[in-house]
Symmetry: C2
Subunit: 337 residues, 2 copies
Amino acid sequence: MELTLQAPLDMHLHLRDGEMLENIANASTHTFSGAIVMPNLVPPVSSKEEVTAYKKRIRHAIGNEDFTPYMTLFFKPSYDKTFLENVKEEITAIKLYPAGITTNSEGGVSGFDVEELRPALEAMSDLNIPLCVHGETNGFVMDREAEFVHIYEKLATAFPKLKIIMEHITTKESVAALDKFENLYATITIHHLLITLDDVAGGMLQPHLFCKPIAKRPQDREALLKVALEAHPKVMFGSDSAPHPKHAKENCGCAAGVFTAPIALQLLAELFEKHHALENLQAFISGNATRIYGVSPLKKTVILEKKPFKVPSDYNGVVPMFANEEIAYRIKEVKLG
Amino acid sequence: MELTLQAPLDMHLHLRDGEMLENIANASTHTFSGAIVMPNLVPPVSSKEEVTAYKKRIRHAIGNEDFTPYMTLFFKPSYDKTFLENVKEEITAIKLYPAGITTNSEGGVSGFDVEELRPALEAMSDLNIPLCVHGETNGFVMDREAEFVHIYEKLATAFPKLKIIMEHITTKESVAALDKFENLYATITIHHLLITLDDVAGGMLQPHLFCKPIAKRPQDREALLKVALEAHPKVMFGSDSAPHPKHAKENCGCAAGVFTAPIALQLLAELFEKHHALENLQAFISGNATRIYGVSPLKKTVILEKKPFKVPSDYNGVVPMFANEEIAYRIKEVKLG
């Protein structure tokens, strides 16, 4: 069986920088037309010059023009309209991190005082720049996202024209918020559609499945599956593919992140087929994002075939999800046009 | 400041076998008069001959008589009264594992049919042999223990004279069950008094804090702390100290278990002092267990002093809790009598 996807988009991707960027850029982008590239480098990407320089490094690492990096800025409350008007042409969105909540987020937002955020967020709203949010409090690990929903609601109410993307949602509470506020959208990863905390810590501890937000309960996964499989119009695929060197995952004090980009489409095909929802995959993987972000992705056709594929043990030292395991689909062809 | 404890008992200890037993026996037993030794070897300890042989290996590994291993059998529904009468003199309790729920528990009990268990459990009840239970279902990792409480209640009701020890309890639901059934008792570890899931997976992933049952929510820890600090008469200290080689903890697919025995008393002293409950430590660490099990422990005096102690990086290749960190108490003297 073959499956053809047009212009797949990954609306949440970590490409890192330096040697890691060089190591994983091609594997992470080959099957996608484009991706929203997250700005949590050290230091974070927070000026026009940094965005353009990072974009150039990404293009250099990929080595061709067959992929569009949709660039983002690391949100700071100090951004004003003049700054944003100037940087707008270089970015597709701005990413907000609560301070200290995930990899390289130390410079993020503490407290969510609407008035403090108003100048920056109103300017973004006026300029139609979407706000991507890592929505977790610093509460108990299983509650962090559900606790953050009231902040989403507060922001959605205070800035009704601002497009707010709830990134990598993992709970039924976030899913429920989607239908309550017109301006709330969401990305969902492939791993949060496949695993729960049981897969991370129910048997042996599995560092390669450890991520933030941590995988939640079976009921949460069910809620995510429902909106992904029906390609709910406010939901987009975002891998949150987050490479770390093998030693940073397998040692004591393992870093958070699952590396999925090279196998994301293959896994999605298998999952959507299993649930008899293949007809919705194109919308989940591209159509919804194109409409929500108003982008015109590079024309790229990806043909998958249903043939067992053994996932490599690593991609240049980065261990992917399902390393050394067999998955049902493989990439047959990727072509421009 | 000095603190003197008489005849400390560890009512739940893993001493393993072979090379691991030789490596950790002294560190695990030095500060205790005795301990309930768990039988989940490969194959499990399930005959009189195996108990006596294992006891002999433990004595050999320790190399002195300054410690009493209270031996246990691995529960099988096939045990009958004749068998139990014969083995009774060699054991202090019998440990029941649900099948496949933790390290080396594959041969455990599947389903908890009272009538199937009746012959063995009535014989144990008649012979006054306590039943120690690892109380977890095979459900979602955060719910397994709370889900098991109804099985505890079923067993406690069906066998009202059988002493049932809920081992290493981690939830407020298990704490609540203590006061509902006269014949339910519990052990509590030091690590479950100190950590929650946040410590295991809230920041970086910490394999050395990964154990079964997994550490739960702050409210659960509060419930455990309350009954431990007041030395609730049905609650005993049991370290569940569970050594694994360093490589089995720090690699992919990390084994469950925290190694605490060598520092358990020191940590308990610090914790009880912090909560102004030092007057209850003797009961928690020895008095309650002596009464519940009806044992007369070896006379041993342990003097702790409040002086910073740097926990070693490992004990013969086994990484303890708080490795390389400083704790507030150290052992000043251990003497018989």
